[in-house]
Amino acid sequence: MMKSDLDDLAAESAQSADLAKRTALGIGGAIALVFIASMIAGYVSVVIENGGPSLTDIGIISAMAAAAALVAYGLWRLWSRTNPAEHPATGPGEARLRKRQRAQVITMVFGAILGGAIGFMTGFFDQGDGNLFAGDWDELKLSPALSLLIATMSVVVFLLMPIRGLRKADDYNREVSLIAFTGGWLAVVTAFPVWAALHAGEFVPPPHAFGLFAIAYVGMLVSLLQSRWWR
């Protein structure tokens, strides 16, 4: 095979990898942002129905807005700004790296689609009057089959995929992930007693599981960004 043929192949491969990455980021980012935006809209409508925001409501809405901003910032950082056709892979190392990146992007999109599907099904097929943020669990109603499906998907998204990610990651990304997980854990073990104390002082409503889940996620995202870009 001539060198020019190899260059063409490398350029073509780089272009298709970049297109796959942009498509994946576009779809995954859009799903994540729509999911967070619908959560904010749903929460705001419940707050309005209940006669105005409390301090906790403002905190939760701010946390969700921060999560949306972090997703947007992550998209902006990851979006490719160069034309790969002008910068084809220069050696076997770059070609191997692009294959690795493609696998990572596919995993990210799969996770985003599953996560988005869980959020959509939970909201769209809920047959009760419950609200995740209010902690009125007895009012949340799903059909048994759907509840089993969502529970199974949650195990895949929140347990199996992170474990698989840790096993596949290189040293650096494993370190960053472990710092993020530690940040999420510290956020929860700090937030619960603080929330409980503030509730005892009648500043906020009692702690509930979904609020702590959201705090863990924001703690994880902030720790991830800090360890990846700001240290």
């Binding site: 892979a89 220069t90 050696g91 076997p92 190392g93 770059e94 070609a95 191997r96 790296l97 692009r98 690795r100 990146q101 290189d170 040293d171 650096y172 990304n173 370190e175 710092i179 360890s227 990846r228 240290r231």
Partner: protein
Amino acid sequence: MAPLAGPVMKNRLKVLRAMRDWSQAELAGQLDVSRQAVNAIETGKHDPSLPLAFRIARLFDMRIEEIFDDEV
């Protein structure tokens, strides 16, 4: 403030890479790690594990202590 993951060693990775005219992506692919990992090692934000340090040394045909300096 000290980094969360502990002190970081100085290294000559960037110089060695430049001598071979490799991009970070090329070196990352040769080492089977992400480009971010190479960047983090070069900028002193991350110490490689011992297996990765050996892979780096083998790739450049040098001893580990010729690439990494633990006197921070």
